[in-house]
Amino acid sequence: MAGRATTRALLLHLAVLAALVVLYWLLPDYHRGVLARVLVLAVFAAGYNIVFGYAGLLSLGHAMFFAAGIYGAGLPVYHLDWGVGAAFATGVGAGALLALVVGMLALRTTGVAFMIVTMMFSQVFYLTTLYFTQWTRGEEGLVLPQAARRLALPGLEIDLSDPASRYFIAVALFSVVLMASFAIVRAPFGRVLVAIRENEERVRMLGYDVFSNKLAAMVISGAFCAAAGAAYAVLFGYIGSTFATIQYSILPLLWVLLGGAGTVLGPLLGTVFMFYVVDITSGYTSAYLLIVGVALIVLVLFFPKGVLGTIRERWLRWLP
């Protein structure tokens, strides 16, 4: 029973990852570039999904974790000439640490207050990037020199600005996060998170420290989002305050809602779909925000479970 469903789900996820690898040879150049970017953003969405989709915490401040990854990785590369590997690790660490501190404070609140508090902490982060404009160049941002964007491995040096290496590094990062999400969701910890979403009081009376579990979810989520940010900085070479604005807290919410909150593959699906909708419609209209707005309202009115959430409910109950 449970074992067979796990095998089936595992095979599905591995098939998706294999398809992403194969797509490289099937797609034209332009779409390889788009997909690399989408995969990095899907990691961001997957991180958000841990907190929002599984633990049921509506955060409006996840831009700060993404941006912590961007700045945590980008600033050392730009100002200190750090190697890409160390910078990436610093970015992830910065996001996890920030999530720990923010979580310890914000998780004292629930519901609407949690949403406002996370939004405000994120706004403070954004203002901080503006305040230290001599280091960050604020909205204008910094472009990492191409020479700095090289990943030095023993006996091998990878140029991260090369489209092929960019694509496969994005796939690799996404694979790690996807399989990690899969493992978390299937683990006892994931079961506790879902239960917290459904009924916090009952979870407490089953002997779980709800606060610590939520905090752990925040830190994991923060680390994933920061990994996306750090990868974005070194792969695409641009860091700026824009990534810390409220809009970047709302985008992962939209992607996750669209793909299906609380599904492992939902964030990828939502990000791909939304990215291409905007990409295609931008040929006809510049009203990009209109599409985002309408999508949010339509989703919340008619498809609150998103694409995969609806599919799971109707047909594939084993989908994690």
Binding site: L105, F121, V124, Y131, L296, I297, V300, L301
Partner: protein, 293 residues
């Protein structure tokens, strides 16, 4: 200018900010208090009020007062109507679920902003003040219009307060706020009260915006700051408390005016936002509010 007059000027400017902020935040507070809905699109109703004010004031030629008065009447009405449509078509269908309404009002925020950009454009446009009286103080001259804004805001807040505490409509609203189910059982049309409150909240923001456009130009992105400041005010004042909202608006408006004279505005905003977030974490009932029932 020496320190005394400088401080007086900063205080006057702060009071103008506070006056407009109090009206805007009052709208947000009312909607949250009665409906338990966090309206993220509130700032966009403010923006819409300002943009429409520009539109209506350009319809008439002649004395600027005519155009301004036309805007003062029509702009809030149109914004109220827009809010009413949003409430009926979206929020009601969501059954006012707190999280779903937040997502939906974020959607409205983007839609209104984009429509303003498409039809109004990216420019900032001024509206002429209805009169250009300058009041001569011993140290500097001060805009009579700004003083009128403070007076108008006080008048409107008093009117709102009287409606809430002295009339049947106010009683119905407070009853609904206190306990939706019981109110329903007593035959109060809760559904209609919600629609009216949401429209009224948006109209307060629109009035505030019309008052401010002769001082600050209308722009399609102008909604974000009032939204964040209103959140701050409503939180400090205690969610849903009218008196707290007004006191907090004056406090924030004044300190904003005075602090930005002496500190970098970014740093001031940073510290203020952080402090407010901490207030919400450690004193969720606000600095002036009572502990939750």
């Amino acid at each position: 200018m020496s320190f005394g007059p400088h401080l007086l000027l900063a205080t006057l400017e702060g009071l103008v900010t506070a006056a407009v902020l109090a009206l805007t935040a009052l709208g947000l507070s009312l909607v949250f208090g009665v409906m338990r809905v966090v309206n993220v699109a509130h700032g966009e109703f403010f923006m819409l009020g300002a943009v429409l004010a520009w539109f209506f004031s350009t319809l008439v030629t002649g004395s600027p007062a005519t155009g301004f008065l036309l805007a003062l009447v029509l702009s809030p009405l149109v914004v109220g109507l827009v809010a009413l449509v949003c409430e009926r078509t979206v929020l009601r269908r969501l059954n006012y679920d707190p999280e779903a309404t937040i997502v939906a009002t974020i959607g409205m925020l983007y839609i209104i902003q984009q429509l303003a950009l498409t039809f109004y454009g990216p420019e900032a446009r001024p509206v002429q003040a209805p009169f250009s009286l300058r009041i001569a103080l011993p140290w500097f001259g001060y805009s009579g219009y700004k003083l009128a804004v403070i007076a108008a805001s006080i008048g409107l807040i008093l009117a709102t307060w009287l409606v809430l505490t002295r009339t049947r409509i106010g009683l119905i609203m407070r009853a609904t706020q206190f306990d939706r189910e019981t109110a329903q059982n007593f035959g109060i049309p809760v559904d209609k009260v919600y629609a009216a409150v949401f429209a009224l909240g948006a109209m307060l923001a629109a009035v505030a915006a019309v008052l401010i456009v002769p001082i600050q130009q209308a722009h399609y992105l102008m909604g974000l700051d009032p939204l964040l400041l209103s959140f701050i005010v409503v939180i400090i004042g205690g969610l849903g408390s009218l008196r707290g909202t007004v006191v907090a608006a004056v406090l924030i408006g004044l300190s904003d005016g005075i602090i930005s004279v002496f500190f970098s505005p970014t740093l001031a905003k940073m510290i203020a936002t952080l402090l407010v977030a901490l207030v919400l974490v450690f004193r969720p009932q606000g600095l002036f509010g009572q502990a939750a029932r």
